[in-house]
Symmetry: C2
Subunit: 239 residues, 2 copies
């Protein structure tokens, strides 16, 4: 069967974590809002679908319609795809470990978003720019090292991938997180990359996966821009 | 077997979501940092354990040591407990639905924390008080209704509990979220409670569960105070 993926068109956002798993897993899907070909039309179609009458409503995209059920929350969708399509270890401990890593990645993704929207997600960046500068400082100084150091230890323990001998959906997500951080905080990441060689090597290995060779250069892959990871030069610095 | 729960002593925090599931499920556990009887000693024991040599390190508490594996991330621990002890539906769709709800609860919990720490989690509230006032306004106005309205619809569809005829760990967590919001934002919650009758009735039903009758009045249950949910009168208002 073909899954339906619903996410805001025009940004990678949280939808990209799902898309990477679908693509790397060779799983048939329709990218419902994207296939409208026009961002406005795609966003309207998404809102119409999301407001529709269903038993398991999502609070927000991304969500996946699969086998008659609607699955929302990025880590939950990936848990489903991991189990159903072998994108995570099948043993109890390995499955929980990958879910734990995914949730930890999701925590940093949420924080990366809040760097540019520390006060009000519904207000403009320009209206919270000074606060964003202060939050960015703490994010660069404390949060990036804390999380990247953690993933470095995880790879060190389990390597070469986060959960051992085979890549899992958490590896794809770590790649996307690293890509996002590189885009939003190039000076900071340039400064610390050498401290986390295993993390950056893993990201490079994901970028070189044969399973993603067709996808990554395609126009199905969304460029960073105005989404979760944003490059505001005033929020970036080496330290 | 008896599980080991590790969490910061003296605050309910994210540990309480796990504790409620353990208690309501009648599951044997040791509350390792709490049993030191002294907060400083408990925190030291936690940090020593967390820094220990293990294959599946947690980034942060809470974590559960069970069957020789360490499980971190609140929603992941609850997924494990739900599956192992029947605290969630066992069918595929129901299990994913409860995990999705738990992750959505976790999102609002994280936002409730960031209300009083919008800039820097490692800095004092007093040093980000003005920003906190602005973030609190958006949280009260937009975020509380968005999430409570969502849970109201979920109960409306599935009722009487979030996933149907039996309570699951997500119901326990929704109760704790409601309790936390009532503590931190009593004026706001007093003003909107009537809009979400099913949510508040569900919370009352959890409070009255025979499975929790021994726990809730006990000193194993931590009082709100200086943790995720904090009552700063200047951050609360009816609207």
């Amino acid at each position: 069967m073909t899954y339906d993926l619903w996410y805001w068109p025009g940004i990678p956002g949280r939808g990209e974590f799902v898309r990477l798993a679908l693509e790397a897993g060779g799983i048939a899907y329709r990218d419902r809002a994207m296939e409208k070909g026009d961002e406005d039309a795609g966003a309207k179609a998404l809102m119409a679908d999301m407001g529709g009458d269903r038993n398991d409503p999502p609070l927000a995209p991304p969500y996946l319609v699969a086998d008659g059920i609607t699955i929302a929350q990025t880590a939950n969708i990936l848990l489903f795809l991991g189990e159903t399509h072998g994108l995570a270890p099948s043993d109890h401990a390995g499955r929980l470990w990958v879910n734990q890593l995914q949730l930890t990645i999701a925590d940093l993704v949420a924080e990366a978003h809040d760097v540019h929207h520390p006060i009000d997600v519904a207000a403009y960046y320009e209206d919270q720019k000074d606060e964003a500068k202060r939050r960015a400082r703490a994010f660069r100084k404390d949060r990036i090292p804390k999380f990247l150091g953690y993933f470095e230890r995880a790879i060190d323990r389990h390597g070469p991938w986060l959960a051992g001998a085979r890549w899992s959906y958490a590896d794809l997500s770590l790649f996307q997180l690293v890509e996002g951080l590189r885009f939003a905080f190039p000076r900071r990441i340039g400064h610390v990359a050498g401290d986390y060689p295993k993390v950056f090597m893993l990201a490079d290995k994901v970028a070189a996966l044969p399973e993603l060779a067709g996808y990554l250069p395609s126009d199905r892959r969304q460029a960073f821009g105005n989404g979760i990871f944003r490059h505001y030069p005033e929020l970036d610095a080496a330290t």
